[in-house]
């Protein structure tokens, strides 16, 4: 009897349950990419934290500008890309840094270069996506922005509020309490509560962890709850290895003790790393693609259609993107490319018709 039920079951078994494994195998081959942006004033430990997260040293030859040079500095955007491989899985990690943010005396709209950069990446992806050759589209869209809040304050400062509001619809904003080793546990608790209150109060849309499925086990749910309750994460980073409790760990050596970066009772570094890399990296990418990018795209198309209606141009299925700073040269180029595309379109149509006629 057992033999027949087994046979029976085997006959009913289609086999698509192996799909996740197939996807897995393909992704491992293809590799992942992830773009992480870090923003905040100088001296909050951004570079150190990134090094700690990915166990690399991305900023080896970095030169710190002195104050003379920094008086006239504007906000820059710098990119570092590094390929990391672990257990056969490849990750192409891009870190976008924002030196100069918030450092000047007058920081009005200092986030403008940053929002412009994010928009440019969306725009480029939009063009590529609408183009003809879509095989090797490079995804440079920013998947997550870690915003460093100084531990010195009593809550959100005006610049924090303005920045996060400017970016909340363009990228997943994850606020962090930086240099958390200058706060006592009671102070951290108070600051986190204060920050959560103010984020609510000002209606800032930061990245929310998705609720875990109801069929997950209790341990996972408990972990998830703890994760959510300890935001914003209070982090410490370190470039040095120290000896603590007989082990060599990443940490900071003070006369009064040793701070261990990966000790959960010292700071939330482990939680951040878990969230960012181990559990929510894919979700961050999804939300970037499904939410932020789609918003941008919809907005873009809307502006274009209204512009086209205003201009009464010949309708072209290939969208002509409005540039932020149109000048004569680029306009000419665009017009040329338009013509080219239209010609190719016509050729395609002809070919399609021919094929259709052949079928008939």
């Amino acid at each position: 009897n057992t033999a027949t039920t087994k046979e029976h079951r085997e006959k009913e078994y289609v086999g698509f349950a192996t799909l996740p494994n197939q996807v897995h195998r393909k992704s491992v081959k293809k590799g992942f990419d992830f773009t992480l942006m870090v923003a905040g004033e100088s001296g909050l430990g951004k570079s150190t934290l990134v090094n700690s997260l990915f166990l690399t040293d991305l900023h080896k030859d970095r030169k710190l500008l002195n104050a003379e040079e920094r008086i006239s500095q504007t906000v820059e955007i710098t990119k570092h890309t590094v390929d990391i491989e672990e257990k056969g899985v490849k990750l192409k990690l891009t870190i976008v840094d924002t030196p100069g943010f918030g450092d000047a005396v007058n920081n009005t709209e200092c986030w403008r270069p940053i929002t412009d950069y994010i928009d440019q990446q969306f725009e480029q992806y939009f063009r590529d996506e609408s183009g003809l050759n879509r095989k090797n589209i490079q995804d440079n869209r920013v998947h997550c922005c870690l915003y460093f809040i100084p531990p010195f304050g009593h809550g959100l400062r005006p610049v924090d509020i303005e920045f996060m509001k400017a970016l909340q619809d363009k990228v997943n904003v994850v606020p962090l309490i930086s240099k958390a080793d200058c706060l006592m546990p009671s102070e951290i608790k108070k600051l986190k509560e204060r920050l959560r209150e103010e984020i609510d109060k000002y209606g800032i849309k930061i990245y929310q962890f998705p609720d875990c499925d109801s069929d997950e086990d209790e341990e996972f749910k408990q972990q998830d709850r703890e994760l959510k309750e300890s935001t914003p994460f209070a982090v410490i980073g370190s470039n040095t290895v120290v000896e603590a409790r007989g082990q060599r760990v990443r940490g900071r050596l003070y006369p009064w003790g040793i701070v261990e970066v990966e000790n959960q009772s010292h700071c939330d570094f482990v939680k951040l790393r878990t969230m960012l890399i181990r559990t929510h990296m894919h979700d961050l990418k999804d939300i970037t693609c499904d939410c932020h990018y789609e918003n941008y795209r919809a907005q873009c198309i809307q502006t274009m259609t209204s512009k086209m209606n205003a201009d009464k141009r010949v309708e072209s299925p290939i969208p002509i993107l409005p540039l932020s700073t149109p000048d004569v040269e680029t306009e000419k180029l665009i017009k040329m490319k338009d013509e080219e595309l239209r010609r190719m379109q016509q050729m395609l149509q002809k070919m399609q018709q021919q094929m259709h006629e052949q079928d008939l």
Binding site: L64, A104, G153, M184, W256
Partner: protein, 399 residues
Amino acid sequence: MEDREEKERGVMAEQRGEEGESEATKENSTKGKEENGVDMKAEEEEEKQQKQQEEEDEEERGMSKQVEVTMEVSERVPGLTAGVIRGADLFGYVGIEAVLDQMRRKTMKAGFEFNIMVVGQSGLGKSTLVNTLFKSKVSRKSCTPNYEEKISKTVKLQSVSHVIEEKGVKMKLTVIDTPGFGDQINNENCWEPIVKYVNEQYEKYLKEELHVNRKRRIPDTRVHCCIYFLPATGHWLRPIDIEFMKRLGKIVSIVPVIAKADTLTIEERLEFKQRIRQDLAANGIRVYPQKEYDEDAEDRIVNDRIRESIPFAVVGTDKEHQVNGNKVLGRKTKWGIIEVENAAHCEFANLRDLLIRSHLQDLKDVTHNIHYETYRVRRLNESNMNFMSNGKAGCPNSV
């Protein structure tokens, strides 16, 4: 009237503190100016070693000396030869040194005034540090009931005064706070209210001084010391720091400190300090103690040592914990207790000693003799020019 200038120079030997505690020896340099006809400058100099330990030190003007009395008699009196008469050679005891006691008693009765301004962004621990320095709740926060932390939109200076007393010595301490400094997105000219305030105090004093009927003791609201709080970024001075210190360094004595320094390791701290000193020199910013106001070689040695270690990296707290059976002021974290008064942990003790135990009177003197005089000269020149250009008759001193 005989113009006699007496110069007393005392070279002191060591004397123990009043309580007979362990070898607490401090340096005390007092210069006083009496407001009566005879100008007498009494210099008491003590050379002692400074040991930093956890004691309950108080402001002591401990001294006792072997006096070498030098008398210089003016040349106007003919027939008198100038010479040095050593104390040991005096026949009998003249009692000149009793003048020091008289002066001390007088100043103790009159009390001292000290005005300290704290400047820095919100959250850098200004109020906590001031409370810790003076071991009492003297900051603006401790004095306002239902205090709520809010970032104010403009820089509003608030001053709170207290009279604190220790061993019979009364001090009227005024703490001037500057909430709102550097907290906005656009901080351009956020230093202007502060510059205005400092100059207003000088103006007030000047007006009093120029009165026909002026008070015996002019109330002194001038800022004697401005503590500027630098965030512990570990990098360089920020543009706002440079702008502020450039402007204020010319009119008030600035003491920069690295706030919340428990986020820097010892190496990072040293590097940071070095970079700050370079930055200060590169921008021509003079902080206290200024090199050009060193009076003599001894001062220079002491002040050089201070100049090599500014800005002090401080940590402040008002909470006490038990460490090795002692009660210490400290911050308790999961990885250890940061002891505020432990010189190996932070430089709070250095700052306190500088501000209160050794250089408090010097700060007042520099403010009075140098910053105030600069202001006065400038104002009088301005008014003279007005006077001449307007052709006004009357007393040229009327401002």
